[in-house]
């Protein structure tokens, strides 16, 4: 793969994600003010000392946006990684073992997926204490049901291929079959799926925070900032739209990259069989 083969849309996505990551990693060095410092009047307009204005408590919006990138991306990323690890391990185990284990895991997964994710999260978060790690775990477990389904389908697709049968006939163990025969062939679709899940995690976290059930104040996160500033909308103050736009932009960027990855996967598949 060479860099030139990457389409413009994917480049836009990659650059957007890179910018957000830079903000997240170097937040204390980039942000002009502190995350929680009240530095001015309430809802000051953009310009002057405050590039994006101030929020509902008089904190600098830009600084909170930069710190918010950190929280939002960190939580979404950790949740996605956990959900992926969990979903992949269980799905591959189910696909390779088959039989009772597969049945049990698959049926339980169907049950979990019978309830919409948001509703499920609402019910669970109503009971559990409010804590960052609990939030991440709930997001991860709920999302892993989707990963499980995809992972199992992909693994089963490949597990019936003759080269896997050939490996079994050779006497290879399950670990070799999973890691050397199946996994390398599933990387491309799974990478795309990872991007998709990450985009979904960002949106999901923002939605939870917006509903007041995600990250708790005074920590800055984009969804919560929309909630904080939503009352300004009626007065024509667009402070709530800035974090909203940031969420949308990041999600669009991730989706652009995913779109390219998926096209790449499908063209690789199509390239083989045309006679």
């Amino acid at each position: 793969m060479n860099l030139r083969s990457i389409p413009i849309s994917a480049w836009i996505g990659i650059i957007g994600i890179a910018l957000c990551l830079l903000c997240a990693i170097f937040a204390p060095f980039i942000a002009p003010f502190g995350e929680r410092d009240v530095v001015g009047e309430i809802w000051m307009p953009a310009g002057g000392d405050f590039l994006l204005g101030t929020d509902n408590l008089g904190r600098d919006l830009l600084s909170r946006m930069i710190y918010g990138a950190r929280t939002t991306i960190f939580v979404a990323l950790v949740a996605t990684v956990i959900s992926f690890a969990l979903g992949m391990i269980l799905s591959f185990a189910a696909a390779v073992t088959g039989g009772f284990v597969d049945q049990l895991l698959s049926r339980f997964n169907d049950l979990m997926m019978a309830v919409p994710t948001l509703i499920f999260a609402l019910v669970v978060l109503a009971v559990l204490p409010q804590h960052l790690w609990i939030l991440i775990l709930v997001m991860a477990v709920l999302d892993s049901t989707r990963v499980f389904r995809i992972g199992r389908a992909v693994a089963l697709d490949i597990a019936v291929m003759e080269f896997v049968e050939a490996a079994r006939l050779r006497g290879e163990g399950s670990l070799w079959i999973i890691f050397r025969e199946i996994l390398p062939n599933t990387l491309s679709p799974l990478l795309a799926e990872f991007g998709l899940r990450f985009a979904f995690s960002i949106l999901f976290l923002s939605t939870l925070s917006f509903l007041g059930l995600g990250i708790q104040p005074p920590a800055a996160d984009w969804g919560g900032m929309v909630k904080d500033n939503k009352d300004g909308i009626i007065f024509g103050i667009s402070a709530a739209l800035v974090p909203g736009a940031a969420i949308a932009t990041l999600a669009i960027c991730v989706n652009l990259v995913v779109d390219w990855l998926m096209k790449r996967t499908s063209s690789l598949k199509g390239g083989r069989g045309d006679a």
Binding site: N2, E165, A166, L169, E181, P184, A275
Partner: protein
């Protein structure tokens, strides 16, 4: 008399989109010209990628996918159909020229009854009234030998067999009384015994209706039965064009000569002197859902020899291979290998037992991990069974590549970068790397073009001489059996019909099924079809 169809200097191109590269324009067909008179049949023959289907579709001014006809003329009754507008082309298609696809199962709309689809074109083009069209469909169903022709039209595509669908598709093409029909490999997807029925039905129907036809196939023996003229194509260019008699009996070009002589190889069986390697005794097998696939199968194979297992799809021949490997443990019976009984299931076998039996698959594409290089593919059995590593392993892989007549330059290639024949050779090398005593070959040549297939067969024979390995060779093709086998087992619907040394199995007196099977394999001989139809004793199994 003017020609019905006259193709002049045809050029066809397509745009391909290789991943990671700018789109390229590829020339599929170049400089092809031919003429076809009313009521005559022209056979277009060539291996995959020869452009024969593309040429066939040009008679309907149609390009599949991104294919474009960019040069030349296609004259139908003297008029160039490539110059027609959309409406003009539509009045040619389905009216003057009709098409029969390779896979009728996919080409029929699953949502409508067969009868409605058969008469649709006739009605739409205003050729006949509904009553007339129905009468003609009934007549065609009869001519094509379909069962219960009166009610056949009321059925849905998924309710009839593959051979019947292919005949229904022929009826659909014949119904509007076209001047020309393009047959695109109409019998390739069928079993041998069904193929000959459909072939006979098609031949009878086009003779009966005086329709001209372009008959596209990769099988020269098939086209010899049905066509008046033959055009041999390769890489989108004409190799040879002449009457059927001339092409079959006195081919001018080397390529054609090779195609004609491809299935003539015969081998005399070796005397059964060495010890028995594999013994299968009273084996029964069933799928997980309880469906029985093998009933009381017994056979045996001597060291250094080849046992061919012949049968059609559903005969249980591939299942038998799975039983031998242990992938599907038999429900009854036993398998003895080199004097010792083999554990039934794969899990119970030792690595050494696994090493001694290797397998080669029909589709080399799916039998090799696309993410591993040739070096890894062939090298893995070496490190797995013999703990070979580093330079020693590379040396051995190179030796094996030599043995399969491929150079060391293939060492770091991925399967996707190899041709079909090369892939199958690598698969053979992988089997060979384990130093097996028995290789199970599951139709290893049936997905390959005839000349490539012959190369693979020769390689297998050479390797047998060099290493004294035994083969169980699963095939549906009697010609291959003649070429390579020492002993033969004929299977039908999960049962063993006939087993013994080749000379005995392939000579009379025959049982009915073996007779049918033997007579169903097209021979490179004009008039073979008529002769066989007169003498055979049993209708084909599937219909």
């Amino acid at each position: 008399m003017p020609e019905l169809l006259s193709v002049k200097n045809l050029k066809i191109e397509a745009t391909s989109y290789p991943p990671g590269e700018p789109p390229k324009v590829v020339t599929l067909v170049e400089g092809v010209s031919f003429d076809l008179a009313k009521g005559k049949v022209l056979g277009l023959i060539g291996e995959s990628g020869a452009g024969k289907s593309t040429i066939g579709l040009s008679a309907l001014a149609y390009g599949r996918g991104g294919v474009r006809i960019t040069g030349g003329e296609v004259l139908l009754n003297g008029k160039d159909i490539l110059k027609l507008d959309r409406g003009g082309i539509n009045s040619v298609r389905g009216c003057h020229v009709c098409y029969v696809a390779q896979s009728a199962a996919a080409a029929f709309n699953p949502a409508h009854k067969l009868g409605d689809q058969v008469i649709e074109a006739s009605l739409r083009h205003g050729i006949m009234s509904r009553e007339e069209a129905k009468k003609r469909a009934l007549y065609l169903f009869r001519v094509l030998g379909l069962p219960n022709p009166e009610t056949f039209g009321g059925r849905y595509p998924h309710q009839v067999s593959g051979g019947q669908l292919q005949r229904a598709m022929t009826a659909m093409a014949l119904c509007p009384n076209p001047e020309l029909i393009v047959f695109d490999e109409p019998t390739t997807a069928l079993d041998v015994t069904t193929q000959i029925d459909v072939l006979a039905a098609i031949k009878h129907a086009i003779e009966e209706t005086h329709t001209a036809a372009l008959y596209i196939t990769h099988d020269l023996a098939v086209v010899a039965q049905i066509s008046d003229d033959i055009m041999v194509l390769r890489h989108g260019k004409t190799v040879e064009y002449g009457t059927t008699k001339q092409v079959i009996e006195a081919p001018k070009e080397d390529y054609t000569r090779a195609l004609v002589s491809v299935r003539q190889a015969k081998r005399n069986e070796a005397p059964d002197q060495s010890g028995t390697l594999l013994k299968i005794e009273h084996v029964h097998a069933a799928y997980g859902n309880g469906f029985k696939v093998l009933h009381d199968v017994s056979m045996h194979l001597s060291k250094g020899q080849t046992l061919a297992i012949v049968g059609e799809s559903g005969s249980g021949k591939s299942t038998l291979a799975r039983v031998i490997t242990g992938l599907l443990p038999p429900t009854e019976g036993r398998i003895t290998f080199d004097g010792k009984e083999l554990p039934k299931a794969l899990k119970g076998r030792t690595n050494d037992e696994l090493r001694r039996i290797q397998m080669i698959y029909q589709m080399a594409d799916t039998a090799m991990n696309p993410r591993q290089t040739v070096r890894d593919i062939i090298g893995r059995p070496l490190s797995f069974y013999f703990s070979m590593h580093g330079a020693k392993k590379t040396e051995r892989v190179k030796e094996l590549l030599d043995q399969i007549e491929m150079g060391t330059r293939f060492l770091d290639r991925y399967p996707a970068e190899l041709s079909g024949g090369q892939k199958q050779r690598v698969a053979i090398a992988r089997a060979l790397a384990a130093k097996p005593e028995l290789i199970l070959c599951d139709e290893p040549t049936s997905a390959l073009d005839p000349l490539v297939a012959e190369g693979i067969l020769n390689l297998l024979m050479k390797l047998q001489e060099e290493t004294a390995v035994s083969y169980v060779f699963i095939t549906h093709d009697i010609a291959i059996v003649r070429a390579i086998a020492d002993s033969v087992a004929v299977m039908h619907r999960g049962r063993l019909v006939r087993f013994g040394p080749k000379s005995k199995v392939l000579s009379p007196p025959f049982d009915d099924y073996t007779d049918l099977l033997l007579k169903s394999v097209p021979e490179m001989e004009i008039g073979w079809l008529e002769r066989v139809l007169k003498t055979r004793r049993m209708e084909s199994a599937g219909n």
